[in-house]
């Protein structure tokens, strides 16, 4: 066998008996080997940094989305970065078994499932007036006997303004208050709507919507589409909503100057008795859009009444059981799955980031904001 470079470099000097363990190679091959090793390390680190988003600051990440929410409303330590103002509620769900034909989720079997929830208004400012927005939200966590959970965050409007996280981010940017006026720049808002005709159905709803005097008189729509799976594995696209037993006629007009009337109204109602909503599940026809929450399904779609949500207890959000719940819409039990709606993954990712920020503040984690002394 012809001697190779490395043998010439080191080989001839050694005998078999006292051979050193290492067989070093010639210096120019050595430089090549070091370059190869360096390249492997740099390439691995660069790939990792790219996947982690460090090399692409323009990419829309959960962190950028939550930063924009903070830019719009201000940053309030310890609070959710959106729907910051609200209160905890709890009760149960009485299933009538009707949805069991479409989903194997235990919550739909005939019987009762405990529920913890939260009512809130949109926006990141926990001190905002209840009349500042016409939208109210209901978030729920159903805990099944088998330990699986169904979490859902719903809003009191039938369609979402936009259908994609990119459009939602653009909307937040357009709505960011300017330093000069403290209000959004009307030109930017107009430009956003002009560029996003999918906001039409939401804007039509918003034109007539008024801030309600009560959480109890509102319907709450899940907005995003989900997929039910029955015992035979058959899939059915659905959307759901909670329809109240109390009607708007029951509402008491809030006193002038009262910014926190929703909490006192709900406390008053619950002192008199539990509040109820019917869970209505709408079944999509083939071809109905499941990937666009800005588009409602036609009114004639089959809707089933799955049971009754009963809420009987209210607690402040800084001490109630809902405080530490992230109402991630993709925490779902067997029998319910997310659809191809792109908002779902974005909500899940952004909620997780908001949850990390506020729990880090609770933990006084280095670098996180100090908690205020008093919280609403």
């Amino acid at each position: 066998m012809a001697p190779t470079d490395e043998q010439r470099a080191d080989g001839p000097k050694m005998s078999r008996q006292n051979a050193p363990m290492a067989v070093f190679i010639s210096s120019h091959k050595r430089i090549g080997a070091w370059l190869l090793i360096t390249a492997a390390v740099v390439a691995s680190a660069a790939a990792f940094a790219y996947v982690g988003g460090w090399l692409t600051p323009g990419r829309l990440t959960p962190q950028r989305l939550v930063n924009q929410l903070q830019d719009n409303a201000g940053t309030f330590a310890g609070f959710r970065r959106n729907h910051a103002k609200g209160m905890c509620v709890s009760g149960w769900f009485d299933s009538n078994g009707a949805a069991r034909a479409y989903s194997v989720a235990q919550v739909f079997a005939l019987g009762r499932t405990p529920v913890e929830g939260r009512f809130a208004i949109p926006g990141g400012n926990p001190y905002a007036s209840d009349s500042s927005v016409p939208i109210r939200s209901m978030a729920l966590r159903f805990t099944q006997a088998n330990g699986q959970q169904w979490r859902t965050g719903m809003n009191s409007m039938p369609v979402f303004a936009v259908g994609t996280p990119q459009a939602f981010f653009a909307q937040l940017q357009a709505m960011q208050p300017t330093a000069a006026t403290g209000k959004p720049d009307p030109a930017k808002v107009a430009a956003f709507y002009a560029a996003h005709p999918e906001t039409g159905p939401f804007r039509a709803w918003a034109k007539t919507a008024k801030p309600s005097a009560s959480y109890a008189t509102e319907s709450y729509w899940g907005l995003d589409a989900f997929v039910f799976t029955d015992a035979h594995g058959k899939r059915q696209a659905v959307r759901w909503r909670m329809v109240p037993e109390a009607t708007a006629a029951d509402a008491v007009a809030p006193g002038a100057g009262d910014a926190d009337f929703l909490a006192s109204d709900l406390g008053r109602r619950l002192a008199q008795g539990p509040q109820r909503w019917e869970l209505q599940i709408t079944l999509a026809n083939p071809g109905d859009p499941t990937n666009d929450a800005s588009k409602a399904w036609p009114d004639n779609r089959r809707t089933i009444d799955a049971g009754t949500l009963v809420l009987d207890r209210i607690e402040p959000q800084d001490s109630g059981s809902c405080r530490d719940i992230n109402f991630d819409p993709l925490v779902l039990p067997d029998g319910i799955a997310g659809s191809d709606d792109p908002l779902l993954a974005a909500r899940s990712a952004a909620y997780a980031d908001s949850y990390l920020r506020r729990t880090s503040e609770e933990a006084h984690w280095p670098g996180s904001l100090p908690l205020p002394e008093h919280r609403p």
Partner: protein, 186 residues
């Protein structure tokens, strides 16, 4: 007289390369999913959890295999500093491989999340629910993962150094063909 083994036993080698692929995948899945809002996010999260538990189980098997089959000794002429670095990085790798899945599991428990490995398979919580525990474990999960990635880079660089520059059989003791130590004079 029983001479020291020149190679890791086959079970150790299979587990090493299987775990290497799984852990590298896991690190990229983890760093990618927390930076993504696309549909990938959900897909990656649902991969991350069962893959993490699979790694935990395989690392336990790997520890048992290693304990029952002592690894080849390092080359006698390896400088002390490199020898210490080799031992320290291996212990760090084992620690991180075991700690990361456990911290992830505890973190989800502390966050009050059901620890789902699929549509219906749920693990019990291993940590009491609470925001402080969640935040600490969640940050710890990130920092330990970054440390694991850096340790992996060092491990890979050292393996290539042994294989390409020292050619001392350390790399080949973990591959399929044994390169006899100091065999180059044949």
């Amino acid at each position: 007289m029983i001479s020291a083994p020149k190679m890791f036993v086959p079970a150790a080698r299979v587990l090493h390369w299987l775990l290497a692929a799984m852990i590298l995948t896991m690190l990229f899945v983890g760093i990618g999913m927390v930076a993504s809002i696309s549909a990938r996010h959900d897909w990656l999260v649902n991969l991350h959890k069962p893959l993490g538990i699979a790694i935990l189980l395989l690392v336990i098997v790997r520890v048992v295999v290693r304990w029952r089959n002592p690894p080849p000794v390092l080359p006698a002429d390896l400088p002390l500093l490199q020898r210490l670095a080799a031992y320290a990085s291996q212990w760090l790798l084992y620690f991180l491989m075991l700690a990361l899945p456990l911290v992830g599991w505890a973190m989800l428990s502390a966050g009050g999340y059901p620890v789902m490995l699929g549509a219906s398979l749920r693990l019990p919580p291993i940590f009491p629910a609470g925001p402080v525990g969640f935040a600490v474990l969640r940050h710890l999960h990130t920092w330990l993962a970054l440390l694991l990635f850096v340790t992996f880079l060092a491990h890979m660089a050292a393996a290539l150094y042994h294989g390409l520059i020292r050619r001392d059989g350390v790399l080949s003791s973990m591959t399929w063909r044994c390169r006899a130590r100091g065999a180059a004079e044949d």
